[in-house]
């Protein structure tokens, strides 16, 4: 066969293989595959693979360089996950996991199919026919299989569960180690059981193993997801309880107020009967601010809370209000218009708001803490401002550095994750400033 024909066949086979890996990986992380990034991945794949092939070609014996192929695989995976991280903003661990798993799936399927082809195909004389059965067929079938996998993954929304495998450091480590081992499964088997000859039944075993592994992963991820969901629901329930507590407190105060007011009124009725205008005037002067003083702030807060139509946000804010009350922090909450929703995922909005409120609670002055919370939604944006007074003026320049905190080592991750979430949301604006002895954090999110 002509040399150029051989070379082009290798390129085409690489392209098919890379396409299968690319599609599977994209399905795993739940992004839309785009041609641009496939081409980037393909180029990267070709460069690494040709490098390895050429390097190995220098030597006669293959055994001494068993590490070349896994190294190449690792390199390809690393570069691919770097592309995913930069271009699709997927966390690095997720990208690595997905790329590794994608490689493992496609390699194993391909292995199995090659074995099967070698096992079943009759012996031909023609070289081209031989090429067809031993190369073209397995590759095409691999592509078809990967299409099937992608279809199943997309239909079951697997990417959603997949990201649950990477929540928390321990889970991420375990997942990555497993993926890494899977990637090199074949190599490990070869190393530990060199005498086992590979045949069709071995391939079948591998195939079953994949299906089983996929099933396990899916099950594990679903389990993790449901556990997280339960946790989130529990949190919502505690927040709702805080809201209820606020309502009950208000009711108690109204009862006390009613009692007070009946007493006051009966006193005034006496003055009125006696025609004591001065006493009545005095009474009016004293009681005009009384109602406002007693219940004004609570009623205003309740009014504000009832304006939030996003229930999770409402429960979050009422829980934080409760916390502020426990710490004897004076709080002014103002929500003029209904808050209906924004172009930011609700979880992110909740976490952002939680971080801002927690920071304000932590930083507010110990003696006479004061916090002001403003939410204002109009046709274009949701405006959130959280202001707190402080004992010691914070250093704004240092605030933007990662891990800035006034609370000692290991803290201060709140603000940096806040900033990460905000920068993920297009067209959001944040502003931090100091004005009239208050530290003000503003967040403006497009509606």
């Amino acid at each position: 066969m002509a040399f150029s024909f051989r070379i082009s066949v290798v390129f085409i086979l690489f392209a098919v293989h890379a396409l299968a890996v690319f599609l599977t990986t994209m399905a795993l992380i739940g992004e839309k595959p785009r041609w641009r990034w496939y081409i980037a991945f393909y180029a990267e794949y070709c460069v690494v693979m040709w490098g390895i092939l050429l390097y190995m070609g220098q030597f006669d014996t293959e055994e001494a360089f068993w590490w070349c192929e896994p190294l190449g695989l690792l390199l390809v995976t690393l570069i691919f996950s770097a592309i995913l991280k930069i271009k699709f903003h997927v966390p690095l661990a997720n990208a690595l996991g997905a790329a590794g798993l994608g490689h493992f799936l496609i390699y194993t399927i391909f292995d199995f199919l090659t074995e099967a082809a070698a096992f079943y195909s009759p012996v031909f004389d023609g070289k081209y026919l031989y090429v067809a059965t031993s190369l073209v067929l397995p590759y095409v079938l691999t592509l078809i299989f990967s299409g099937g996998i992608v279809f199943v993954l997309n239909r079951t929304d697997f990417s959603q569960y997949f990201s649950y495998l990477f929540q928390g450091r321990a889970r991420t480590t375990v997942t990555l180690v497993i993926v890494f081992l899977l990637m090199h499964l074949k190599l490990l088997l070869d190393q530990f059981f060199p005498n086992v000859t590979t045949n069709f039944s071995y391939g079948l075993l591998c195939f079953v193993l994949i299906v089983f592994a996929l099933f396990c992963i899916q099950f594990g991820a679903m389990y993790a997801a449901s556990r997280d969901k339960v946790k989130a629901q529990e949190e919502t329930i505690t927040q709702q309880q805080a809201y209820m507590a606020l309502l009950e407190e208000l009711q108690g105060e109204i009862r006390a107020f009613r009692h007070d007011f009946t007493n006051l009124l009966s006193g005034m009725a006496l003055s009125a009967q006696e025609g004591d205008i001065e006493a009545i005037q005095e009474f009016m002067r004293r009681t005009s601010g009384y109602f406002d003083e007693k219940l004004g702030s609570e009623i205003r807060q309740m009014e504000g809370l009832s304006n939030i139509q996003l229930y999770p946000v409402r429960s979050l804010i009422s829980a934080k209000l409760n916390l502020m009350r426990q710490r004897h922090i004076q709080v002014a909450l103002e929500i003029m218009n209904p808050v209906t929703g924004v172009r930011m995922p609700t979880e992110d909005l909740l976490r952002c708001q939680g971080i801002l409120l927690d920071n304000a609670i932590e930083a507010a002055s110990r003696e006479e803490g004061k916090i002001r919370v403003v939410l204002l939604q109009d046709a274009r944006e949701l405006y959130i401002a959280v202001a707190n007074n402080y004992d010691k003026q914070p250093n704004l320049g240092a605030l933007t550095r990662n891990g800035y905190t006034t609370k000692g080592k290991g803290r201060g991750t709140g603000l940096s994750s806040y900033r990460r979430m905000v920068s993920r949301c297009p067209n959001c604006i944040t502003r931090t400033y100091i004005k009239n002895e208050y530290l003000v954090q503003e967040l403006r999110i497009p509606v």
């Binding site: 403003v374 202001a387 400033y433 003000v440």
Partner: protein, 246 residues
Amino acid sequence: MIPVYICDDEPAVSVLLKKLIGDQIMIAERDMGPLQVVDNPVSLLELQKNAEIPAVYFLDIDFPGYMSGLELAVKLRQYDPRGFIVFITAHGDMMFETFRYRLEALDYIVKGEPSVMAERVNACLESICERLMREPDGKSAYCSLKLFDSVRHIPLQEILYFEAMGSRHTLVLHMDNEILEFNSSLNHFEDKLGAGFWRCHRSFLVNRSRIRSVQLKENMVELDNGETCLLSRKAKAEYASALRRV
């Protein structure tokens, strides 16, 4: 002269306010005027367009049948972002925090005892004058930013540096006592702001007039408030060659 507007639909209030404000301006010989009274938001918006800015606005919170004080203030701010807004209200429990932060309203005056109101008016005017004194005259350079539908003008000497964050075109603008994070690109500001600013690193654009020192050894640029920016190798070479030329 800074124009002063009073916008209130109750004649009694606006007459009283006009007298109070006029007296205070005269007594303290403040550089303010002319003092104009209107009874509806629409004519105030028209008047505003024909006069100088920044101006001082005393606004009622509610105008039955018209837009609310909040909407009016948003519209006034669009034309006069640096103006001073003071709200007049009948009751103390209005949403002042919202006005204070969203519109940067200066203060509010509760309708009532004229002597108390006079005191409050005087405090407002005093703080306005103080702010104007601190602010540079209108001719000094500004950097204007479009944030949603409003434009903000930031005096250049308050800017320390711009920092580009991550890959999503997020810019962080560091100022005295303020940090602003928004979507834009560093190249845009490098072109717009010209020679007064120095691109000392791929992700930093610093105000030259705020630099305290350039630390070539540590590859840092130190600013006059003690914050530091990174210095790239390319910028360092530029800097060194500029030094040699001098």
